[in-house]
Symmetry: C2
Subunit: 398 residues, 2 copies
Amino acid sequence: MKLSNRAYNIQASPIRKLMPYANEARKQGKKVYQLNIGQPDIETPQVMIDAYRNYNEKVLSYGPSQGLDEYRKGLLGYYQGLGIENLAVDDIIVTIAGTEAIVLALYVVCNPGDEIIIPEPFYTNYNGFATMTDIVVKPVTTFAENGFAIPKREEIEKAITSKTKAIMLCNPGNPTGTVYTKDELAEIVDLAKKHDLFVIADEVYREFVYDGLKHTSILDFKDAAERTIVVDSVSKRYSACGARIGCIVSRNKDLMAAVLKFAQARLCPPTVDQLAANACFQLGDDYFQQVNQEYRERRDLVYAELQKNPDIVCTKPGGAFYLLPKFPIKDAEKFIIWLLTEFDLDGETVMGAPGEGFYATPGIGKDEIRLAYVLNKEALKKAMHILLTGLEKYRSIE
Amino acid sequence: MKLSNRAYNIQASPIRKLMPYANEARKQGKKVYQLNIGQPDIETPQVMIDAYRNYNEKVLSYGPSQGLDEYRKGLLGYYQGLGIENLAVDDIIVTIAGTEAIVLALYVVCNPGDEIIIPEPFYTNYNGFATMTDIVVKPVTTFAENGFAIPKREEIEKAITSKTKAIMLCNPGNPTGTVYTKDELAEIVDLAKKHDLFVIADEVYREFVYDGLKHTSILDFKDAAERTIVVDSVSKRYSACGARIGCIVSRNKDLMAAVLKFAQARLCPPTVDQLAANACFQLGDDYFQQVNQEYRERRDLVYAELQKNPDIVCTKPGGAFYLLPKFPIKDAEKFIIWLLTEFDLDGETVMGAPGEGFYATPGIGKDEIRLAYVLNKEALKKAMHILLTGLEKYRSIE
């Protein structure tokens, strides 16, 4: 039986596609340090776990399609605490993780065949969301050499067509770790105004910025309230990827009314997980301070290790928990497979995600590897040593 | 700012759209018996609640995109217990409720613009899923007078075009309560073979069949394994609508491989909710026997009340927890609004869902109301008395 074209065309996850090699390596007794998946090892806050443990309703019923009232009020307080003004509860709809927030944003902004401009490299699942919503991703390339800085205005303008409906950004960036400044974002907002576009900002790594940098939300641009949309999630913020709770935020009332209609069709986000996410608002500032410090130290460690090899190109990223170094090799995917199948250092090896999968432009990023610093420092140090030792050996035989 | 066409066109939920009238009635002190939403009052099994209460991991991490292994094995055992043979764990992918199962099925079966044949009246959110996946619903009308029996073969054949990719059924039916016999389903399967179509069966009410009827799963047709897809959910089965756990089941390996790629893009279903759903497999047969008896008694009660007015057309439905009677009025929506705004019996009134929203063909179903028997018998008896009293009064002034 013939399936749909989209069934054949949808991208397999480049983050997960080499997992069979890792599983095989483990079967053969190798220890594999996994830096390929953004699954943090940081403990989920106990208040969140306790919220599951305290659940005690008689009927686990549907919640409102827009999310539980108490959680939406909690979210409003959270955004107000970030300094975001003029926001109301009805500007927030709870979603099934950041995933659904992006898909809903694309549905209401784009007709099938419309285009979204995204700086590449970008979070690879955006491709899947584009297939789901039948839209076209127009990449604007950024480069390891200058820390994947936001594309120049004229580069973005070159990509705009009559079908362009939005510019989408991930800030801080996955897979780059790049943090955009307020001035850079102001340029994007200005461009969006000029060409009547929406700006969709994926800000799920908001709290993870280092070196005294300050995160700027796209919602801070109050004069562009009608055209700015934030997609958000508790997955990384509270190390709770399995909760599948996110939200979409916009002050555009018509847009949120349309999002609600889509949300009604899927009825509601999971109820107990919303209660668990809501419990996280009990956490004090010290929670993020601690997590932030831990990630910063890990980034410093990984970055310092990469610096030991002058042939590796990597600018120190200011946020998230990823680096995307450029390696002195031709094909990173082959290198990763080689690390898993042919190499080990005292029975241990390491795994990253091939960079190519984070680009929409064919053929670029083939020498890049995304490294997620989601292991403790001791493990990271070992993993980096194995990676760099493996790299030298691989180059000698490539 | 202009939104997408689909943002404007997606159907608002006809089940929920009159809720503002109910809320207003409550504000004015009226008691409203809500029969409009399929939110069961039956208690969620304690083993399921306990699974939330026993959750105690350090990190609430991503699960596999296809669902937790232990839950998929539990599901396999459940289907085998129903007598479904030749099924493997890889034929099952856990979804975010039945909603996502349907959306995933439509993605992999249909290109944008392709058609699905569905007997109407049908579960109204199918319209939303069609908008999301950019497909076209071709309804084949069924009728209250003969209990919304499955359409005749020639009626279905008339609706088939070169763009038709599947026939979708809900069995037992929402909003009709109709249970399809094995012979009726065999006809559908035969038709699907002749025209090379998939058959998608929404079987979320599988356990709720009465009067000694036996439910036939579309998976029972082993000679059509390549073209049959079941979409399923724990929402109604275990009175756990807020868990958002469902699954998609098919023995078509290519189809399931494509479903997995879409599932990878959204990462995973919620983790703790899967553990909670998995706990339900500890329940003995007596669980469904009790729930089944309770629903059957309610159906008998509602049906007997409706029989008191000979102008109401209603055939006794064999399953689910809905009836869709045809009332001797012109516009059921107006009647329901009138019940909420202008009528009460000792300060109490009642609410149903207008039938029109369950039809894709414009203008039909306007005299029908879906009644969900999701209240206890005492409340249902009162609600039905109020409905019939209101009906007489409304007819005298309509």
